[in-house]
Subunit: 204 residues, 2 copies
């Protein structure tokens, strides 16, 4: 299998993080230069029906896109450590938290960054009003997240899951548009600090 990826975007990083946690080393990484818009003309990416990264190419030539869909597929092939849930109930709980945090936090952070960060102008028409709205909503959600994390090391299930990975990648991406969670949110800072150290140790 091959993963079409780029070092400069949050969604491909989510998949590389899943791979690093699971110790997957037999998937070839193929860099795509998004600043040269290679993703819009690449024939393998075109097969997935949408000009976005990441894309996983299977050995039979089939493709899977969307970071969480790729991650769930990789979990079926490399079950441990478990990142998506051991049974139907836990799978539902982890999906609930992943989607909720994406909807209220990670997607607003990523969209806000795309609308506000000058280096991304080649990829998007910036719209600062939309960017401000997204960052204001993400900042407000961080307050609730801080309460949730008061007695928790991870978002849910008592261990690292795709919910943590999805959010941390968004927070890191939003740094380029100078988004920071409010300094008073000590639980968010602790959680984010620990996971950034973990990502650093895993080199993703």
């Amino acid at each position: 299998m091959k993963l079409y990826t780029t070092d400069y975007a949050p969604n491909p990083r989510r998949v590389r993080w899943v791979m690093a946690e699971k110790g997957i080393t037999d998937i070839e990484l193929v860099q795509v230069d998004i600043m040269k818009l290679e993703q819009r003309t690449h024939p393998v990416i075109a097969k997935a029906g949408s000009p976005h990264l990441p894309v996983l190419e299977l050995d039979d030539g089939g493709v899977i896109a969307e970071s969480v869909a790729i991650g769930r597929y990789l979990e079926s092939l490399y079950p441990e450590p478990n990142l998506f849930g051991h049974d139907a109930r836990e799978i539902a709980d982890i999906e609930m938290w992943t989607r909720r945090l994406e909807q209220r936090l990670a997607t607003p952070l990523m969209l806000g960054t795309r609308m506000k960060a000058a280096p991304l102008v080649i990829l998007e028409d910036p719209n600062p009003a939309v960017g401000d709205y997204m960052f204001e909503n993400a900042a407000a959600y961080c307050i609730g997240l801080d309460v949730h994390l008061a007695d928790r090391e991870f978002i849910t299930a008592g261990r690292l899951t795709i919910a943590d990975i999805a959010c941390v990648c968004a927070f890191d991406f939003a740094r380029i548009a100078r988004f920071r969670p409010d300094k008073s949110l000590e639980n968010v800072a602790r959680w984010l600090g620990a996971l950034r150290e973990r990502a650093k140790a895993l080199e993703i």
Copy 2:
């Protein structure tokens, strides 16, 4: 089990549609009056950690929120007809399409409607600039969707899946903010017309 729901929102409707397709009749529907903001104070909804519908309450008192997470959980209990995929590869494909269409179409339609529709002012601070941006992006995505649907009756897998259900509920919700896909998009119109008839026949 009990489903906390409202007849006036797109995400609870997704779950009721999943239930109707699977012929699930043993889950009690509990109406929550969102225009009276009951979802913000209801003790069962509070257990889910976020004041939004739908919420599924299990017989042991546990709760699952987020429409797609609830739908996937219901599929584990009521496997037929299959809406989320039969094996890892099909599950990944259906999740890819569901997430892509939510990101580019359904969420922009739902957020745009919340930002623009006068009756929703009790729930949201309207932001017409954000609403316009969302509707413009959704309208642009419909052009690609029309090409995708040229030779397809459903979004993927050759049958109805959660990807179709998620999108149709968003298109229907956006009617209250007067969003319509461009009339020239005949494949979108055909797909949407057929699924609206199906939903009508199933009374959801």
